[in-house]
Amino acid sequence: MSIMNVNPTRMELKRLQARLKTASRGYKLLKDKTDEMIRKFIILARENKSLRKQVEEQLAAALQSFALARTFSDSRTIDEAVMMPSRAVSLQCGKHSVMGISVPSIEIAESKGEVYPYGFLTVPEQLDNSVNRLNDVFAQMVHLAEVEKTCNMLADEIEKNKRRVNALENIMIPQLQETIKYIKMKLDENERSSTVRLMKVKDMLAQK
């Protein structure tokens, strides 16, 4: 590991020792943070996976029955039936913090209005079925969006944090240690050389 370009003085030594202390404390803290984030991430990723599986299955089923409805009637009628939705969905969004990262929290605030935006006379019953299923799965889809986003951001943050920890562990701290050692040796060497010089001078004086 390379040594920093510093003057081997006592002041510099003190300064570097203080930096080393801060760096190793920071390293410890960051490492703990990464561990905790990974723990949380694994829980979330598991949830994310099972939720997505569920949503994909249910959504596929709902859309299938929608397609079925299309075959039972002509698609113009179906399009017309769903053209003007009677519901408007509104979300309640906020941010909350997971390990210092602000992640979104999304909830359905209200979805008011009639469930079926059409008259029952013209459309096949498969459409009702599909609409019901879609309404059920929609809440889960929104939840999935929240979980997935949190996972994304947490993964991002973990990656960044890991890089910081690595930089501290493998570069910063060894470099500081080496430099401190180098300064100490240099100072010792100076001290020795000055002692020797004094002894030499004393000898010369004694010989005169």
């Binding site: 309640q92 992640v103 999935l144 993964a155």
Partner: protein, 109 residues
């Protein structure tokens, strides 16, 4: 304030989602989808669902949006055979965070 839900996809697949109250945006090509993603980001949509078929084509755009809190862009399968893009996303996250995929391989293989 973020409170809207958008759906991007080809007309046949996403019309059904209109009934739940989401706003539907039709896109047939990757370029259209890209434009729509940008527009919906500007217009402060909280959640954007996008069909997996389109999501695969504009994966790079979606990647950029990942680090911001909003909008949450979620790929959804619209036919019974999913092309696995959504699951892949989770897998990638896990790989990114942990360095290796420890959640998936034991269950899938």
């Amino acid at each position: 304030m973020y409170n809207k839900v958008g759906v991007i996809g080809d007309k046949d697949s996403v019309t059904a989602l209109k009934v739940v109250g989401a706003e539907i945006f039709n896109a047939d090509t990757a370029e259209e989808a890209r434009e729509l993603v940008k527009r919906l980001t500007r217009e402060k949509f909280a959640v954007v669902f996008i069909t997996e078929q389109l999501a695969v084509q504009i994966a790079d755009t979606l990647q950029k949006a990942k680090s911001q809190p909003f909008p949450a862009i979620v790929p959804i399968p619209v036919s019974s055979n999913s092309n696995g893009f959504g699951m892949d996303g989770i897998k990638k996250d896990v790989e990114k965070a942990l360095g290796t995929d420890i959640l998936f391989n034991k269950e899938d293989k």
